[in-house]
């Protein structure tokens, strides 16, 4: 059965792979997945991002310890140019800094999320 870009994206994640799109016409890196380039209307192809990026902004969501404790939400600008929401793992949330280089750390256990960690 043919699937739309959203289902394809989550199928990639289910297999542990992160994919974004690139416009066949103007070269724009596109996230989240769409049928047509939001910049020029061109067709889109899947690409594997190189895995690096920089934190655009971040926040620590305060949550009671018994509910799982604080966690980080971040927006990361991928090296390709697209921006996405993620969680930064492997460091305390309050140590996440804007401008910090990060690297793809894998797909979350729910297979609905992608995680990033500070670049070594």
């Amino acid at each position: 059965m043919e699937q739309g870009p959203e289902a394809q994206y989550f199928s990639f994640l289910a297999r542990g792979n992160h994919r974004i799109q690139r416009c066949d016409a103007c070269g724009e890196a596109v996230f989240y997945p769409r049928l047509y380039c939001p910049k020029c209307g061109g067709g889109l192809s899947w690409i594997t991002p190189v895995g690096t990026g920089v934190v655009y902004s971040a926040t620590t969501v305060r949550r009671k310890p018994e509910q799982g404790g604080d966690y980080s939400i971040a927006l990361v600008d991928l090296t390709e140019g697209a921006r996405l929401m993620t969680r930064i793992v492997d460091i305390p949330s309050e140590d996440v800094r804007i401008g910090m280089p990060v690297r793809f750390a894998g797909v979350g256990p729910d297979t609905r999320t992608v995680l990033y960690r500070p670049e070594a």
Partner: protein, 389 residues
Amino acid sequence: MNRDLRGKVAIVGVGQAGLGKADGFTEMEILAQAARVAVDDAGLRMGDIDGLTTASVLAPMWAMPVIEYLGLDPTFIDSTMLGGSSFVAHMMPAIQALVSGQCSAVLVCYGSTQRTSPISRSVIASVRRDFDPQPYEYPYEPLNPLSTYAMAAARHMHEYGTTRENLADVVVAARSWATLNPDALRRTPLTRAEVLAAPMISDPLSTFDCCMVNDGAAAYVMVRADRARDLPHAPVHVLGTATRVHGRQGSSLPSLTETAAVESGRAAFAMAGLSPSEIDVAELYDAFSINTILFLEDLGFCPKGEGGRFVADGAIAPGGSLPVNTNGGGLSCIHPGMYGAFITVEAVRQLRGTCGERQVAGAEVALVHGNGGTLSSQSTAILGTWATV
């Protein structure tokens, strides 16, 4: 450009109801109360209303039950839902309908009982996940809308050196205005130190940086300027208005530190033929403290990046150089989910000169700026007295 529509329509009636806790009353009931107050205030009867704009946080087909409940038979209906800015965004289609002759009196109305509603906010959030999916944000569990505004604040601090003290000054200014407004819900004087001591919810925003969640309803009535002259109150003319949207999700907006208010503001000022220095009072949708700073910049009251320094030293507080959020804002007056109609009501009252202790002396031109979603929709309106038309 809509220059030929400048001043052609006026707001002639305003009303509010159920402010705070509407115990025992439904959303529709307080909406109807506010609508009745606004229509009475306009010197009209409900039967004179032949245009309706409204929107609901929860009900997607909201215009129909409102028409049914109020017994209207409107020839103009707009229920465009852009979040909190909707009731500012509704002005332009209403103006066009009035000027074209499609209708002769438009009622803009909103009501919410989200404070006393038996449906908890977590249930609403969970239903929304299914009905209004954001699969590239929801799984990360941002505490939205708060977390997106928090990331806007963090980025603004990073780019421009804005501080938590600057955010606190916004909160304190709003509270200072609220102490002068008998209708405001948070009226206890507040200091910067108290604001800075509050616990974080989504860094760098604390409890004091967030608007309230209340019940409340607000409404206003618009007619053509020629008809407005014969009604009881001095008309408040719409000199310019525009709406822009860059997207929905914070992760998809081009910037979290420069919003579509740049464009809505520029277009509204161009229609009005005015500049920011000519604004006597500004009502800027402050769902969070960072909003006030962003909109002061985006609307041209100060250069980009200077908003934090602009609000220091009480510049937007009572007695400051630019009165901002004179009712106390969403931070200290009221915020029933969507606030656009409430800031419009406050601007009209300022231009009528009926604001009592918080009245801005000689106010002739007011700017109302509505925001919706997570900095997603931006609607600006510039209102003026008859003398400014």
